[in-house]
Amino acid sequence: MDFFNRQEDSNIERELARLQQDMGRLIRRPAHSSPQRGSKGFPGIVGLTKADGLYVRAEVPGMKLEDLDISVSGDMLTIQGVRTTGATLEGGWYHRRERESGGFSRSIRLPAEVDGAKAEATYVAGVLTIRLPLKEAAKPREIAVRVAEG
C-alpha cells in the first residue's frame, strides 16, 4: 500500500497528487498506517518539505514537555507521550468530557535523504514540529552545462 495512493475527489486534487508523487520519494508511509485519508492514530501528522528539509507536524495541545518523547532510531522517527486532560475538580463534577487522555506512540519511517541525527523539535501553541535536515549529498546542486565546440 502506498502513502499517496488514495481516493481523490477532484481534478485539482488529482493534479496535486501527481505533483506530490514526484516529491513522494522524500517521505514514505508511516509504519502501521492504513490507506484512507484521515487520522490514523494519535497524534495525526502532516509531512511536508521546505527548502531546509523535511518537516513532520502534529497537533498535541496541552502537553508538558516532559511528557513528550521524540526519538530517531535508524530510519524510524518515533513520537510518544502521555496526554493528561483530567482536571482537579475541587469537589466539582463534569458536565461534558470530550478531551481524551491517554498514552500514544507513532512511528514514521524516514527517507534515506534526511539526517535523523540532526533532527530538531519545537512545541508552540500545542503544535509539535520536527525538522529533519537533508543530508549534504541530497541537497540540490547546480551543474554547469558547457557548450561543446564543434
Binding site: 509531512g47 511536508l48 501553541a125
Partner: protein, 136 residues
C-alpha cells in the same frame, strides 16, 4: 478515560452548518471541550491547537459565551505538503450562559493550545456556611 488507556485517534470535528453557518473562508472546527462545575464556578477547557493567546477571542453576546480561535501556528506559506492526516483550521463554539454566572468576573487563559475559561458564580448562589451559635 484514564491515563493508562491508549489514545488511538482524535478526529477534529467540523462546524455543524445547521447550527452555525460559517461564511469566512478556511476550515472551521468545534474545539473538543471539557466542562466542569464546582460549588463556586464553572470551568471550560478547550483544545485549540495552533492558536496563540492573542488570536483567541472570548466574548459575551446576550446570554452566550462565544469563543473564536484563529489558527496561526499550523501552516506556513512555503510548506509543500506531501502527506496529510489532519486539516488546519480555526475554531468556533458558543455556550449558553446560565444566570448563576457572574459575567463581570469571567477569566480566560491560553496555554499550549488549551483555552481555559473560568466563570465564577454570583455570590448569592455560592454555598455559604452559616455559623451556628450556642444558645445560652
Amino acid at each position: 478515560m484514564t491515563e493508562n488507556q491508549e489514545l488511538t485517534s482524535l478526529e477534529k470535528q467540523e462546524l455543524d452548518t445547521s447550527v452555525h453557518q460559517e461564511l469566512r473562508s478556511g476550515y472551521w472546527f468545534v474545539p473538543a471541550t471539557d466542562i466542569y462545575e464546582t460549588p463556586d464556578k464553572v470551568v471550560l477547557i478547550m483544545d485549540m491547537a495552533g492558536v496563540c493567546y492573542d488570536c483567541t477571542h472570548v466574548s459575551i453576546v446576550d446570554d452566550e459565551l462565544i469563543v473564536t480561535g484563529y489558527v496561526t501556528h499550523g501552516e506556513e506559506d512555503d510548506d509543500y505538503v506531501l502527506y496529510r492526516e489532519y486539516e488546519v483550521g480555526n475554531y468556533h463554539r458558543h455556550f449558553g450562559l446560565p444566570d448563576i454566572i457572574d459575567r463581570g468576573q469571567i477569566e480566560a487563559v491560553m496555554s499550549n493550545g488549551i483555552l481555559t475559561v473560568t466563570m465564577p458564580k454570583v455570590e448569592n448562589v455560592k454555598p455559604r456556611r452559616i455559623p451556628v451559635k450556642v444558645a445560652e
